[in-house]
């Protein structure tokens, strides 16, 4: 299982609080990080996002309708290692404020209607157990019922070991449900965030019409340690990273976070036969680092969007 790479909080001069980037280790102001969508402005490292932060970055304001919010994990095997599974669930719920490792709902992405589902890696490594599987099924059903695009952002260590074979079966369950989406000819866009591994990568995440990866995201079915132990070789530089996956033809594109929302919206339009120009054009920033391309106003708008208390508007009706 992979660690989420929590940032060190360092005391700066006087009352200034700065954070060290886990990648380049240079110090960044939290407000700057927030405005840059949690991407290090110095090295471009895409820091992990919570599910709610991700939803706040992708969904248009105001119209979030959560799906599957009544689902609660159980302990079907009475699994107990050093700590009972029930305790692990409670601890994860307390520290994340979430019921489970996946949050899904209906929303608009730049006015394009979508069913958006997001994994939260902080919740037991974003692992897929019975609740995550069921939440995905309900989200797929909602997409089919509303005839909208399915958008899924994954970051997951794979199956939820503590639910044993039932967690493995969530792979089958989610794949079966996606058949309905295909039959309804609705688009499915998948965004692979760091890290997406194991059973999630080998089921829903790779069955999308279009697969987007975030820069630097680690994408691999097997864990890096398992590969090293089995092959008795050190992993090559850049192994399993989004950029390598792109060069081996496993993903369609690597899109920086600053461009993600627009790119998803454009794909939704195009895959439904519309013209991409329906989305306000601002030109592609892909060749330049985002922090040199955006206007100040745009960054400020982002910051304002992020500053809104995500939770209050996430807690709306259910279906």
């Amino acid at each position: 299982m992979l660690d989420s790479g929590e940032a060190r909080v360092v005391d700066g001069p006087a009352d200034v609080c700065v954070e060290a980037c886990p990648h380049c280790e240079r110090l960044v102001l939290p407000e700057v990080l927030k405005a840059s969508l949690n991407v290090c402005p110095l090295c471009g490292y895409h820091r992990p996002l919570s599910a709610l932060e991700r939803i706040a970055q992708l969904a248009d304001l105001g119209g979030w309708d959560e799906v599957g919010s009544d689902l609660q994990p159980l302990d079907p095997l009475g699994f107990r290692d050093l700590r009972p599974y029930r305790d692990r669930i409670r601890a994860a719920q307390a520290s994340t404020g979430l019921r489970e490792a996946f949050v899904g709902g209906r929303c608009n992405i730049l006015q394009q209607p979508a069913a958006l589902g997001v994994f939260d890696f902080r919740f037991l490594g974003g692992s897929m157990g019975s609740v995550v599987g069921e939440a995905i099924i309900r989200l797929v059903n909602r997409a089919v019922a509303d005839r909208v695009t399915l958008v899924m952002v994954t970051s997951s260590g794979g199956a939820r070991m503590q639910e044993g074979i039932l967690s493995l079966m969530q792979m089958a369950k989610t794949v079966v449900a996606l058949e309905d989406l295909r039959a309804s000819r609705l688009p499915f866009i998948s965004v692979l965030a760091d890290p997406t591994t194991g059973g999630v990568l080998a089921s829903v995440a790779t069955l999308a019409d279009v697969i987007i990866a975030e820069p630097g995201a680690f994408l691999s079915f097997a864990g890096p340690r398992v590969i090293e132990q089995t092959t008795r070789e050190k992993l090559p530089e850049g192994f399993g990273r989004a950029e390598e996956s792109l060069s081996y033809g496993q993903v369609d594109m690597v899109v920086p976070r600053s461009e993600l929302k627009r790119r998803i919206a454009a794909l939704i339009v195009l895959l439904q036969g519309g013209e991409e120009t329906r989305i306000r054009k601002v030109g592609s920033d892909e060749k330049r680092p985002w922090w040199r391309s955006g206007t100040l106003g745009r960054t400020a708008a982002r910051a304002e969007e992020l500053a809104r208390p995500a939770r209050s508007w996430l807690r709306r009706g259910d279906s």
Binding site: L74, A172, T206
Partner: protein, 293 residues
């Protein structure tokens, strides 16, 4: 408890559950671990041995038509009791040389693509698909990952989810994680009495949560990976009993038992129109999972 899959199996399940309860009574903490060892034992009959008894006219077909042929998964056509079908199965290999050549039954993307190809071939020619599962898991290697291991498994699941053909799977030894499930999304799933089916190997599980691979026996217990466990969890439809002294050298006897279950399953599945069969398969997998709400 999730709904039990399958139609017309109520009595069979009730009988096996009674038997399971008897077994539970005499269970020692090492039953699961003993089963793990039995499931991996080298003397266990493997796919090709079963096929030589089950379908003596079996003709092996090779290759994924893209990149290569994976010897870790064998496939082909053959007939059982005068009825032709497509067979797929992991082959771990016998002696060290064959085991290395077959990569210990750990398939690469080309293996899963071969499975997809042959499953679709079965569909085109209205043949059932029979899968024999026996793998530690998908091969964890750099080239396999670069070749799209995850996507290959996902697309295999997708092909089986939508297949018109009736499908029956038998876990004949080790059902290791996604690499096993890739051949396991079927209308009927059975396990041999001392086979295992698990989301993760007990060793890897122990290393992760106990931080000590030698806790594997405890992990094996906690994971609920034996055939009776899977039957109670509603993941499989039945258990194929084994001779008292185990399956080593018993390919002929076990093939007869497999054949009986296979024939009755295909008869049941054949009585249902393909569309209904697909709907029931879909429902079976949608029902798996335990949660509140």
């Amino acid at each position: 408890m999730p709904a039990l899959p399958g139609v017309g199996y109520g009595e069979e399940i009730a009988r096996l559950q009674r038997r399971l309860e008897e077994l539970r009574g005499e269970e020692s903490p090492t039953v699961a671990w003993k089963t793990v060892q039995a499931a991996r034992a080298q003397g266990r009959p493997q796919t090709l041995e079963y096929l030589s008894h089950l379908a003596p006219d079996f003709i092996e077909l090779h290759g994924d038509r893209l990149a290569g042929d994976d010897p870790a998964i064998v496939g082909g056509v053959g007939s059982v009791a005068g009825k032709a079908m497509v067979f797929l199965g992991h082959q771990k290999g016998r002696d060290l040389k064959e085991r290395q050549q077959r990569n210990f039954g750990m398939a690469r993307p080309e293996g899963y693509r071969k499975a997809q190809r042959l499953a679709l071939l079965a569909e085109r020619h209205s043949l059932p698909v029979v899968c024999l599962i026996d793998t530690p898991g998908a091969f964890p290697g750099v080239e396999a990952e670069r070749g799209g291991q995850a996507g290959a498994i996902a697309r295999t699941l997708q092909v089986f989810a939508g297949l018109q053909s009736p499908t029956v799977a038998f876990v004949i030894g080790e059902g290791g994680s996604g690499g096993a499930l890739a051949l396991g999304l079927c209308d009927r799933v059975f396990m041999l009495e001392t086979a295992i089916y698990s989301v993760i190997s007990p060793e890897a599980c122990a290393a992760l949560v106990w931080r000590d691979a030698s806790e594997a026996p405890r992990a094996a217990e906690a994971l609920h990976l034996t055939a009776p466990d899977l039957l109670t969890l509603g993941v499989i439809d039945g258990i194929i009993s084994e001779p008292r002294r185990g399956v080593a050298g018993q390919a002929r006897v076990m093939s007869r038992r497999l054949k009986r279950t296979l024939s009755s399953s295909l008869e049941e599945l054949g009585a249902v129109p393909p569309e209904v069969r697909r709907r029931l398969r879909r429902q079976r997998y949608l029902n798996l999972g335990v949660f509140a709400g």
